[in-house]
């Protein structure tokens, strides 16, 4: 059957193109393409799952390792060897006063008077030359301790309104420079730190064995 179209050639072309579009408009890619793509999606999901599992396993292993190694370590004091007490310095213009109530101990030793050289030194020195940070029996200090020297103030720094008292030790050589003789390798000291963390003053203390009644 002849199904001819008469008229304007451009209009005929437009109609023929529309027919062609309808005729070829229902095509679809083969089923194999869809299956291959589905496999890729599934593989991707599997890879992500495997990666996530691996990451979770690694995190779990790290936690287990960290916990077990921490448990294996001996319990140590959280602060290396010092105790700190906070004190408020009275309105001294040049130097903070030692906090009240800290000199719980006892008597001031007469031998604690520093030598003239040490007295001259204490004004120029910002603090002890070296401070050892070995653990110390802090609790023992309080019993029978004796103030061995006056406070050596660090006049190079402005006074601090608030201060923290830290007990520490300096080596015997440093103590010697302040005119303090130490029987051991170290000498116990109290250091007064300002709120800026810089040392403001230091004094030597002596720990005496607890007297038995």
């Amino acid at each position: 059957m002849q199904d001819g179209m008469k008229g304007n050639p451009e209009e005929s072309l437009r109609r023929a193109l529309a027919e062609f579009a309808v005729q070829t408009g229902s095509g679809a890619a083969s089923g194999g393409v869809r299956q291959a793509l589905r496999r890729e999606v599934r593989a991707r999901a599997h890879r992500r799952w495997a990666l996530a599992s691996l990451a979770a396993a690694a995190a779990l292993a790290a936690v287990v390792f960290g916990v077990s190694t921490r448990w294996a370590q001996p319990v140590r004091p959280s602060s290396p060897r010092t105790i700190a007490r906070e004190g408020r310095a009275p309105g001294s213009s040049t130097a903070p006063a030692p906090p009240q109530g800290l000199e719980s101990g006892g008597r001031t030793a007469s031998a604690a008077v520093p030598s003239p050289a040490a007295s001259a030194l204490h004004r120029a020195r910002p603090g002890p030359a070296s401070v050892s940070h070995e653990p110390a029996a802090i609790g023992d200090w309080r019993k029978g301790e004796t103030v061995l020297s006056p406070w050596y103030y660090n006049t190079a720094l402005p006074p601090s309104a608030r201060s923290v008292l830290v007990r520490s030790e300096v080596d015997a050589r440093t103590a010697m420079r302040f005119g303090v003789l130490s029987a051991g390798d170290t000498a116990p000291v109290e250091i007064l730190f300002g709120e800026d963390g810089l040392p403001r003053a230091m004094r030597f203390v002596r720990h005496l064995p607890t007297q038995r009644n």
Binding site: A16, A29, A45
Partner: protein, 190 residues
């Protein structure tokens, strides 16, 4: 206030979500996107290449790229459909044999007689198929996009990466070429 931009935005946001789910390996997201975008892409590829296996390959490569990364897709700049057409175009043009650039200055002879006169549907379809396949790629794609896919000139310009005016002029010339070739073939067969 025009609600269309909002609808477009929500549509893009939804497609972006589907795309992310697809890349995470969600098969349902794949099914949704595949059933939505495969037919037009396949048609475009088939009409451009004239080969089912090439069209299959284009669809497969295109969705693989979508699954793996969809690099270059920015929902702020356009719809996923436009992005897919652009991607498909790249894949199709890679498959087509290299051809000499068309000489736009040569005028097509005017066709006065209707080339479809006294042809039945099957003959007309065959004539159109042969004529479209014989066009240079640059003209074929404008006919495929605008006349067969019924894409707007603006969307076709985005897909082809050219100005709307270029689309118009190419379409005009492509139609003239189609008519001229059909007329010649009809005379020959007659």
């Amino acid at each position: 206030m025009n609600p269309e931009p909002k609808a477009n935005e929500s549509g893009r946001a939804e497609e972006m979500k589907l795309l992310k789910r697809l890349q995470a390996g969600d098969e349902r997201a794949f099914d949704t996107l595949y059933s939505r975008h495969m037919p037009p892409v396949y048609r475009y590829a088939l009409r451009m290449t004239g080969s089912q296996s090439d069209a299959d390959d284009v669809v497969q490569e295109l969705f693989l790229e979508l699954i793996r990364s969809a690099r270059g897709y920015d929902p702020e700049r356009g719809e996923l459909r436009s992005y897919l057409y652009g991607l498909a175009r790249r894949l199709i043009l890679r498959r087509l044999p290299a051809e000499a650039p068309a000489n736009d200055d040569t005028p097509e002879p005017a066709v006065e007689d209707d080339p479809f006169e006294r042809l039945d549907l099957e003959q007309r379809l065959e004539l159109v198929r042969t004529a479209v396949a014989s066009l240079p790629a640059g003209y074929r794609e404008v006919v495929v996009l605008c006349d067969l896919e019924e894409m707007s000139y603006a969307d076709a310009a985005v897909t082809m990466g050219c100005a709307v005016g270029t689309v118009r002029s190419r379409l005009h010339r492509a139609r003239a070429m189609l008519l001229s070739r059909m007329e010649r073939w009809k005379c020959r067969t007659a």
